[in-house]
Symmetry: C2
DNA sequence: TCACATTTGTCCGTATGTATC
DNA sequence: AGATACATACGGACAAATGTG
């Protein structure tokens, strides 16, 4: 029970494959490996670290699921540095939803709150290239609607673009994560043309208010927009890219 | 090039260990396995699925990193169902910070925005047990300060309790994730007694305003509190559990 | 205290599937 | 079409850790 003389840390707390993962992560943080670079194949890594291939494989699994690499099989394949952290966070949010730790109501509430804040920053900070991307987005969404095709993808994209225009990457992460769950829900319930068209109309008006830097109008539109979407979600009818 | 007759989906898109992971996840979602339950040991799982042990191990790595299980060595050990999704999301945020995808300024900005919203909900929704926990928290923090000990842990806990009192678990996730990064930063820079004492004072006052349901006062205090912390962070001096 | 059973961690060798050239 | 390179997966073995009698 006497721990007063535990001055020595255990030499090996982590498992070997965890240490390997950390080492490679470290090199990525330092910029030694950059996105697009290829890591040596398993066999070679095993030699370099003087470890078995199984250990290397499990280390690669960690890196894969932590969003640092992807793995391709076949000749010329192998582990490649690629940043997929955003998808990973989205996946975990989705798991939280499936575990019923998050409800649709909670999700919608936070989304509304975040959107309000983001919109404020967008009006202050959006530059010309942001506006250009947003314009292009609603233009293409409108085109689809005119051709009687739901613009689901574009309507989600609109909110990603808004988050980016806030110039705070954390908003991109949170927005993307919440939308990962909404996308999953929609993929089950489907989405109608009418709803999609309605959403596009709101996006057009909100963008107009952003360009005019009319904060009051933008927030009012958003409020109405969100309430409408919330009503649709609650009544179990299909909604979309709100 | 003609894909018009590709009516058949490929039978096996995912890797075997991914399918195993999904299957086990499914059982957890369905409630067949609950937190605390023990999964069969690797060897037995290998038999049941009629797969090699290596495949099972990689599936367990996925489950581990997705926050569904923990694994213990030795007799009576093995894979145990345990929800660690929150830590996993926090880890990914930390990685995003280390990859310089998030800056300290961005982090502080979002934290301030979220705290404001949370505080509003807390005043509306906090029940007696929430208040009790918050009171206990500041009481213990004060005790530490009186004993000239920094109350770092308690000061972070205060914000987690606030998020919980908002009755929206998403706020808990986001708050916890942001604090995971802040904790890491503090672990490097250290934290002073003076700063800690100052934070505790603010927490006491904010809690008082919450109990009085004085929204204006609470938000004003929070504003001042956050600004002060932001100043400390920016000037590179140690800060804490803001 | 000590021996034992259990279970993960790690290694090696081998075979198979698959993508690239 | 064939050769090459690589991940994927199998089986057997031993080491290390941990709880139990």
């Amino acid at each position: 029970m006497d721990e007063s003389k535990d001055v020595f840390e255990p030499l090996k707390t982590k498992r070997t494959f965890e240490e390997v993962s950390e080492l490679i992560k470290g090199q990525i943080f330092k910029g030694v490996f950059k996105p697009g670079d290829k890591l040596p194949p398993e066999a070679q890594l095993a030699k370099q670290f003087n470890l078995g291939r199984q250990t290397i494989r499990e280390a690669l699994r960690l890196l894969e699921l932590s969003g640092f690499i992807t793995v391709q099989k076949g000749g010329g394949g192998g582990p490649v540095i690629k940043d997929t952290i955003l998808q990973r966070i989205g996946d975990l949010f989705l798991d939280s939803f499936k575990m019923k730790k998050i409800s649709l109501v909670e999700l919608t509430e936070v989304r509304a709150d975040i959107e309000r804040i983001v919109l404020g920053y967008v009006i202050d900070r959006a530059d010309e290239s942001d506006i250009k991307r947003l314009k292009k987005n609603v233009r293409e969404a409108r085109k689809k609607i005119d051709r009687k095709v739901p613009a689901t993808q574009e309507n989600f994209q609109f909110h990603r673009l808004l988050a980016e225009a806030s110039k705070n990457y954390l908003f991109v992460i949170v927005t993307e994560s919440i939308m990962a769950v909404h996308t999953e829900i929609l993929s089950r319930s489907g989405s109608g043309l009418e709803t999609s068209a309605n959403v596009v109309m709101y996006h057009e008006e909100i963008l107009k208010a952003i360009i005019d830097k009319d904060r009051t109008e933008a927030l009012q539109l958003l409020e109405k927009h969100i309430k409408e979407v919330g009503r649709r979600l609650n009544s179990g009818i299909q909604s979309e890219g709100a």
